[in-house]
């Protein structure tokens, strides 16, 4: 009734605020948000992300594919729902931290009913009250406890705290999470990334900041290795000899390898991939056809098949054509007997594909002949400008520190009260921790046993 009466006195705004704090400060609510986060994240693991709609229709029954696309499950991590959920978690985390964790973790000194606390003990002690109290305080201080005294209604209590500072561990961990979120937000706000394919010997410009990248040469190493499953052709190294030039004229030349990015002009450049650019020639009745790019095409690029409305796609580079293989593609990706897979499209519909050896022409019908003439290696370079990285790193460090403090240091408080008179006293001792009583049971038993031995030794 008192609560109801209290609630009635609140203005609508205050009432809303109180309700907000109650909801977002509730651990079960926070855990519910975590569960939803986990489920949504899991959906993104199971459902391929960022694929073309056709890929979902190929992989799933049509109704399921439609549901995936309609619900936005194909880009769940960048959906408003997902980002909003993380926002809710951060709000919940902040409210829990300031309204629940801090008040609960840093309790004021107060008297307790010793025998009502599950971890409690009573020990007989001899001497005057002051002697006993001084002895107890020496004992606890020697064992690393921080001892304080306080009077409550004329009754003196002794309090001892251990790892009191570690009560802030959860706060530190939550703070780390918030710093990581801030760093990530900074990237969304100010950062950018992209990938660019540069043919050997060519220069390209990064659109966002105007840096020029020149790939002088690109090389890769493939090491054929005999395994129990057969010979594998594993790339063991790929490297671009690269020069970066900023709009201000600053330049830097570097050998760009996987795991060894180049930091230049506030951007990190990465060796991401490589491939073969192929130059095509197309003729009709022996005459060159207009519209075929003169520059090498990259895998996935296409061009129109004259005025037919159809298109030719350079689908895949084949290092070694192997007529014995069912697909015609040999296991060795090195260009020993090279060719390309070309696919003809009618609109968005593929109507046929074929492996064409390099330097040979294929008849496309209607007098059209297509010839992959030559190839050149290209280097796939990824770039990223992320001003949030220092914050994310700091946040991760703080998060781990907080988690370790919370898990490995158990703060405990002892409540000590003396009852008796003259030279005979009963020491009432109770212990509380923020993680419950069971967690401290063994240590408390050990502490009590040690205290008892100490008192018995004093008595004798």
């Amino acid at each position: 009734m008192a609560t109801a009466a209290g609630a009635e006195r609140l203005s609508p705004l205050q009432s809303l605020y109180a309700e907000f704090i109650d909801t977002f400060g509730n651990v079960l609510f926070a855990v519910s948000l975590l569960v939803v986060w986990g489920v949504m994240t899991l959906i993104g693991v199971v459902v391929d992300q960022g694929k073309a709609p056709a890929a979902y229709f190929n992989e799933y029954p049509a109704e399921l594919a439609r549901a995936i696309l309609r619900l936005g499950l194909d880009h769940i991590y960048h959906s408003y729902e997902y980002v909003g959920l993380i926002g809710l978690i951060i709000v919940s985390l902040a409210v829990c931290t300031f309204k629940r964790v801090i008040p609960a973790r840093l309790p004021p000194l107060r008297p307790v009913l010793v025998d009502k606390i599950p971890l409690h003990a009573f020990i007989e002690a001899r001497g005057t009250e002051e002697q006993v109290r001084a002895r107890l305080e020496r004992f606890f201080a020697k064992a690393g406890w921080h001892v304080r005294r306080k009077l409550f209604n004329g009754v003196e209590w002794t309090f001892a705290d251990r790892h009191n500072w570690a009560r802030r561990g959860v706060l530190v961990a939550h703070l780390g999470f918030v710093i990581i979120a801030a760093g990530t937000t900074l990237y969304w706000w100010k950062g950018y990334q992209g990938e660019i394919a540069i043919l050997s010997g060519q220069t390209a410009r990064i659109p966002q900041n105007g840096d020029l990248l020149t790939v002088h040469s690109f090389n890769y190493t493939i090491k054929p290795t005999q395994t129990r499953g057969g010979v594998i052709y594993q790339p063991v190294d790929y490297v671009s000899d690269l020069t970066a030039t900023s709009p201000a004229g600053k330049t830097e030349r570097d050998l760009l390898r996987v795991n060894h990015p180049l930091q230049f002009d506030g951007i990190a450049y990465y060796q991401a991939s490589y491939g073969y650019g192929v130059t095509f020639r197309m003729t009709q009745a022996g005459k060159p056809v207009a519209g075929v790019p003169a520059t090498p095409l990259l895998e996935g690029d296409s061009f129109p098949l004259g005025p037919t409305g159809r298109a030719i796609q350079y689908t895949q580079f084949v290092g070694t054509i192997d007529p014995k293989s069912p697909s015609g593609i040999g296991a060795d990706p090195r260009p020993f007997n090279p060719g390309v897979v070309v696919t003809v499209f009618d609109g968005a519909q593929p109507i046929g594909s074929e492996i064409v050896p390099l330097g040979h022409a294929v008849d496309l019908g209607g007098g059209y002949r297509l010839e992959p003439a030559s190839y050149r290696l290209y280097s796939g370079i990824q770039y990223r400008h992320d001003p949030g990285i220092p914050l994310v790193g700091l946040g991760a460090l703080v998060l781990v520190a907080g988690v370790c403090i919370s898990f490995y240091l158990l703060p405990a408080r002892l409540f000590v009260r003396l009852e008796g008179e003259g030279e005979r006293w009963t020491v009432g001792l109770a212990a509380q921790t923020p993680k419950g009583y069971t967690m401290y049971e063994e240590q408390f038993a050990g502490l009590v046993a040690a205290l008892q031995r100490s008192e018995e030794a004093t008595a004798t």
Binding site: V35, H120, A121, V236, R257, K435, T438
Partner: protein, 329 residues
Amino acid sequence: MMQTLVTIFYALAVVLYAAGALTLFAYFLWRKSWQVAIGVPLAIAGLVAQVGAIVSEAFATGWSPTSNLYDSLSLFVAFTVLLFLIFARQYRLWALGGFVLLISDFFLAYAGTWNEGYRPLVPSLQSYWLAIHVPTVVAAYAAFMLAFCTSVLYLVKYYLERGHSGGAGLTSMGLQPAAAGAAAGGSMAMATLVAERTGNTVQDETPGLALAAAQGDKVAQWLMGIPSLAKLDVITYRIIAVGLPLLSLGIIMGAMWAKEAWGAYWQWDPKETSALVCWIIYLAYMHLHTRSQWRGMRTSWISVIGFAAVIFCYLGVNIWISGLHSYKV
């Protein structure tokens, strides 16, 4: 030569773990001290043989033996057995050894099916992070597996105890009414666990179980030999308290490596996101463990679910889902 050594050590470890599992499983059933006296040295010998296999593999390949599923599963088993030996020594958990070694041995035997022999490292794995990130994450998985075993033991004991205490009237949350605190003797009267409904603890043995054991009920006597539910809950918490920071560190270090290799610390790769799901589950465990009414049976179930998620992340994603981690680590 080195590959032969790897094979010999590997086979030896499989055999020793199997023998240790059988002996400690016998201890689980019959509680004879000689079974521990034989089973534990067998487990230690198996671990030594496995470390021999891992070291030989490192010498044979010239890099950290963490580059494929065989390597990482082998490391996972070694960490699991090591953690088990540490926790079992600390908390007298030898009865759990049969299960831990049996599952470990299964994983080690399964690892063998992924051993393709020497193959060179792909460029993205040619990093010092390989020797840091993978063992950290795998150690976390090992801790979660051990926590899974203690949680299953908790649940087995919990449901069997419930049967022996009549079930009715006891809470479904792992809390039991008034398990009397034991007086610790002398002038010290220490109520170890006064588990009232409002108490901030899980229960110790149930009175019904103690009574049934005193009346000669074999199952009750057997249950009394297993660590109490309260202790199992604390042990599970402490094992997860080892695993969760390791997983956090592993994810963070993986992000740092990803930034060096792929240009972004987080790419929503299936492996990354499924590791995040595991992290979220164990984070939920830790949060719920702060609430007395959730501690015990419910948190044990969360630990079981968490380990299912770990297996999905570790094996399911590697084997069935392609992504940036497709080199089967």
